[in-house]
Symmetry: C2
Subunit: 388 residues, 2 copies
């Protein structure tokens, strides 16, 4: 084989030596159920190898579609038709394919301010215009959103969709307030735009049941809910799912990519199906929810001192992130410099705003590090904020 | 779990009872190396499970990038830099992502007439205009292509890229003639458009070495060559690769989808790497090339009678397809009806033309059926053509 001075890496994560980097919202590798997945993979090759290795059914392996149908009914009380479920290559893949299949050049796509910064990068690869919508402590401000949409339509623009993370939001950790959920769905139904509900953190709920999904409230056929196995099993599987109106699922299932290449995750989809039906999914979920809850608590404990320092730390009830609002006098960028000098890092709030904002806020991910490391990182951050 | 009257399928292929359907250009499941892949998968989980399950490096697992680099150098005499290789989710995925990342609304994309019909569907999901270019027995007519490009540019259009299958073409089985390969690459370099070289059939070469790739001739940094493991190992792996100019690979590796989701095939990529480094890839390739060669020969033998009936049957030197040209008086659609009455099917030529043509031609895939079945199907086709 060819020798090169430095081999290219296998994984995406890059850790900087001597730094606890709370910028990475990745699952801790130690929490990935390798044995569970290895055993399920063996089972798939024993029982279904020829099927698994062929071009897959466009909307995903039938058995997984059926498991998702029944599981979602169990969890949410709304049962999707099989024609309303698609197995995806993860939520990033789904966002990309939704744009390719449903968006037209010049369409407006609404995004929360702040929103998941890498979803913005996916959306920007498509010829659409991103429009930020204001959020407060309870999530999207429905009044302001409604005004924005009407204003855009008056000026002749097409509002195609809203991308949002209403449950355990990335980056804020907040969830859209209960009453606003129905208001948002009804507004979209009235104004005729789609909602892409990025629901990747739903099952990582630490303090009781997660808020109801927008999809479960949708009587207008306008919500595309994206779920994923990247946080609950493993990112490397590259498998997620979508529950959406039948016409949306049909458009995706019949698009050029799936028509030519077949289903996006034939092997991984069957592996996930095996794990889910053998009960391994729920068992593993219990373990990681406990683990991530402990990490959230450790980080919040470490951040306690910030409360008397004019900072705002809202405890998230699920997901991977804590959002810290600094006093107006403090710049997140300057805090970042001080923090890295002390041995910890994070992402400044500015990364998560389309069209400005976030100068006095920062996102901390508690998914990747053990509680002790999170405590240490929190102490460094408190220190870095004080000296600023 | 939920009970439905008929469970949705696992695989894409749908066979109609009592019909030998040469419309499907799929590998025969019996030729998929299930044991080889199962063993490699076990090895990956033993040696690299945590890496395999994490978010992968954007352009693919380092070891596979290095294997591809050395293997391509061995096969083609040109060694790509590591920055000139990307592990893809298969060629369909690559075509889709190239359009998303590099094409702009209104761009012209040139395609052969005839061309791979499902690539057309992928391209049409993007806001580009498809322009067919004339081909003859030796592939793309460079003169006419050159005129077409200049004419388009004169009319103010942007010619962004040409999509083509120059080696063991789908649907014609033909390969672009040697001298024309350099002429095509030089024309693209001169006129400043990219060539997407769909090179999926290169290694399925039955009668000696395949023609040199356009990529290996490219001194202008304009060829994006797409290779795949879908035909040489298994479609279900959803893994391919791209050798392309470094700036193209960078644009793809840094696009929104890969930035958010990480590499597209972390597990499958490592499985393929394991197979390739253990020598299983070459061993399996020898077996399937022999098998597909026998199938081509069986089909061609069965089609012999057509030669004295005004039909043209060009023996392909590799790939999956035989293209039959009928006398002008015979319609492929009518032949199709007669053929299905007799128990065989195929795709009519019309499917493969953007903007008309192919009424008197048809594509036969010899990849999926055993030689005896191909002989029987050929006899039915000969009969169907006679009675027309």
């Amino acid at each position: 084989m060819s020798k090169v001075n430095s081999s290219p890496p296998v994984v995406q994560l890059v850790l900087r030596p001597g730094l606890i980097d709370l910028g990475w919202g990745h699952p801790d590798s130690a929490l990935l159920p390798a044995d569970l997945i290895r055993q399920a993979t063996n089972a798939v090759f024993v029982t279904r190898s020829q099927e698994a290795l062929a071009y897959g059914y466009a909307t995903g392996p039938g058995p997984l579609l059926e498991w998702l149908q029944s599981q979602i009914y169990l969890n949410e009380g709304r049962k999707p038709e099989l024609e309303q479920v698609v197995v995806t290559g993860g939520n990033s893949w789904a966002i990309d394919q939704i744009c390719t299949t449903l968006a037209k050049p010049g369409d407006c796509v609404l995004v929360e301010a702040p929103t998941y910064h890498l979803a913005v990068r996916i959306l920007r690869d498509h010829p659409v215009e991103l429009i930020p919508v204001f959020t407060d402590e309870d999530g999207i401000d429905i009044e302001q959103l409604s005004d924005r949409v009407r204003q855009l339509k008056r000026s002749g623009r097409t509002v195609r969709m809203l991308y949002c993370v209403p449950t355990f939001n990335n980056p804020t950790g907040r969830s859209l307030e209960a009453a606003r959920r129905q208001q948002l769905v009804d507004l979209a139904g009235r104004e005729g735009f789609l909602i892409i509900e990025d629901d990747v953190y739903r099952e990582l709920s630490f303090d009781g049941p997660a808020p109801v999904s927008l999809w479960s409230l949708d009587t207008h056929d306008i919500v595309i809910r994206l779920g994923s196995f990247s946080k609950t099993l493993a990112p490397g599987l590259r498998v997620g799912f979508m529950t959406a109106p039948a016409d949306v699922c049909r458009a995706l299932g019949e698009n050029g990519l799936l028509d030519s290449g077949g289903g996006v995750a034939p092997i991984s989809g069957l592996i996930v199906n095996e794990i889910c039906r053998a009960g391994g999914y729920q068992a593993n979920l219990g373990l990681i929810v406990d683990a991530y809850r402990r990490r959230r608590d450790a980080l919040l404990n470490g951040l306690e001192p910030l409360r008397d320092r004019g900072c705002q730390v809202r405890p998230p009830h699920g997901g991977f992130f804590v959002w810290v609002s600094l006093p107006e006098v403090k710049s997140a960028m300057r805090v970042l410099e001080r923090a890295e000098e002390r041995g910890m890092s994070f992402l400044p709030g500015t990364k998560f705003f389309v069209g400005g904002g976030g100068d006095h806020a920062l996102r901390l991910a508690f998914s990747f590090y053990a509680p002790e490391e999170l405590m240490r990182a929190a102490r460094m951050l408190v220190d870095a904020i004080e000296v600023n």
